[in-house]
Symmetry: C2
Subunit: 342 residues, 2 copies
């Protein structure tokens, strides 16, 4: 987005009946969104959420508190409207789409479900790359296509969420490789591991990184990181984010996993950062490191760690409120209010 | 609210299709609200915002970046629908009431305006107590009456906001006295003072405290703190908060000023804390100290410092979302999802 729109937005914000700068982060959100739309803000925004689902071969290594079947069970739950993301999407007028990029189950076609299965789960990243080159390309492409479809539907803001038992293991490995931080610092309890479980997970991630990227001094290629230690839904989200930014759609990131996909996208095309918003900061320890790397300030910080896009959708009313204020408040001159004396 | 409702709420939260505890702060919000309603949650909540407006005699001492007339001008802006709180109330279906407790102007009667003027501005707290005993009682009573009217209207959640040029000076003085912290640590720039202006404000507050509470070792009586260094709108908010808690209405605090009123209420009747929510943490440095004293975690932290109830109303969709999740999500058994293995 062009700098001139940001400047025009700040001039308008400074003319509104409030102390200068007193809307805090809301002012930055409004200015960024004004720039993304090229000065054509129309409210309410057309909002959508995409939940990318896939299984992970690394669940063979007992890295998660929940069994692998939960991925498919939760996809059924999404389709029946019972999950947290369903409730929030309905409450905040967000169109919800579930994308099967690689769940280890077969689903009947259903409204709101996009079938884009690449494989019934990624490969076990401890033993081999999580995807071969064809699988990586197919997953990326599934995401890019969904971004094109979002553009065709004139969606203006998209939440990026996911479901995949085992996917914090992949996100932690990506984070360690992209930030250079120690594995232990970017690895958490996922959906609820105890201390022993988390230690085993750290060990698995460390060994996977050693296998695929033995020369740790070198900066790893982001696509190769994604392929070797990522996952099908993470790759699809990376393609989706890159495609959405290209289509000038605002992107609301959710938690640790979706931000790991954004971090790969950022490493490939830093200019797409202008389209990113961080919905929240999750309790997973790696998330804040990724947000710092991306230079994003989260809108919410509520210790959520649920995924599905829940933190992203919950932040949407805050973002839309900033745009309402930007568009609808009176100015000092229109309301006859005195400006600051000193 | 009784403990048994909190426990029942937690049992339900633990049965929903999400990892245990993964909704973070939202779970605590839902459980608190469930307890406040005595287990009778009906959505959407009936929500209202009250903006208490008054002038401050201490504006004679040049403690604010904006001239005193701005209080009355902003009340006109509220009545014409052009202020930030109007935009947010409309966006989030919140009924807005403006209460004139002591603005130095006369307003024609208008829809949404409650006339409860005690005096055209508090007295200059540097020279004499901000209110005499009768004025304090009248302001407290105005607040209590509004809480009764809120109860009669069956409002279930109320945002407490204010407008009053000079009122961060009063709130900082209250905060210093109730927390025992040094004045400089709890005094900020208000609506936009520069360094010299802030230093002069700190000096005024320090001298006022010395005049009214010379024996600083003693714990000051909270009502006497309110009377000597408070303000008419702050006293009305204190009465409003006490009355609302008694009527079992949930109270969403806004920024520094409304929290200073809550801190006085808390010092008088600690049990009312169960009805308090902190909408946000403002950029005014005293606010976080008060929140810590009250044991409240703010829902939002967006560096806002606008007042009017804006941070409180902006937090309402987050709180209501927590209740939607609590009420509408499927359980593990209803959705056939496996629970954690370890």
């Amino acid at each position: 987005p062009e700098e001139k729109y940001r400047e025009a937005a700040q001039r308008r914000l400074d003319s509104l009946t409030k102390p200068l700068g007193s809307l805090g982060v809301l002012e930055a959100l409004a200015a960024q969104m004004y720039a993304i739309t090229g000065g054509n803000l129309s409210l309410p925004l057309r909002r959508a959420a995409y939940v990318f689902a896939a299984d992970h071969g690394v669940t063979e290594e007992a890295v998660s508190a929940y069994p692998r079947e939960v991925t498919a069970q939760m996809v059924h739950n999404f389709l029946q409207g019972g999950a947290a993301i369903n409730v929030l999407s309905k409450a905040h007028r967000v169109e919800l789409t579930v994308v099967d990029v690689g769940v280890d189950a077969v689903f009947a076609s259903a409204p709101g479900l996009v079938e884009a299965k690449v494989r019934r789960g990624s490969r076990n990243l401890l033993r081999e790359p999580a995807m071969n080159h064809e699988e990586l390309c197919a997953a990326l492409e599934a995401g890019v296509k969904l971004a094109q479809s979002a553009q065709a539907k004139q969606q203006q803001m998209i939440a990026v969420g996911e479901m995949g038992i085992g996917n914090t293991t992949a996100a932690s490995a990506i984070t360690a490789l992209l930030t250079g931080l120690p594995v232990a610092e970017v690895t958490g309890r996922g959906a609820g591991l105890d201390d022993a479980g988390r230690n085993a997970k750290i060990d698995v991630i460390g060994r996977a990184i050693e296998r695929h990227f033995p020369s740790s001094g070198m900066k790893a290629d982001p696509l190769e990181v994604l392929r070797c230690v990522g996952g099908l839904e993470i790759a699809a989200m990376t393609g989706f984010i890159l495609g959405a930014a290209r289509a000038r759609i605002a992107i609301m990131l959710d938690g640790f996993i979706s931000t790991s996909a954004a971090a790969v996208a950022y490493a490939m095309a830093p200019q797409m950062k202008d389209y990113l918003f961080a919905g929240h900061c999750s309790q997973e320890p790696g998330h804040q490191h990724l947000l710092r790397q991306l230079g994003l300030r989260p809108i919410l910080s509520l210790d959520m760690r649920l995924g599905e896009g829940t933190g992203a959708v919950l932040a949407m009313p805050v973002l839309e409120s900033s745009l309402r204020l930007f568009s609808e408040m009176a100015t000092f001159s229109s309301a006859g209010v005195s400006t600051a004396a000193r």
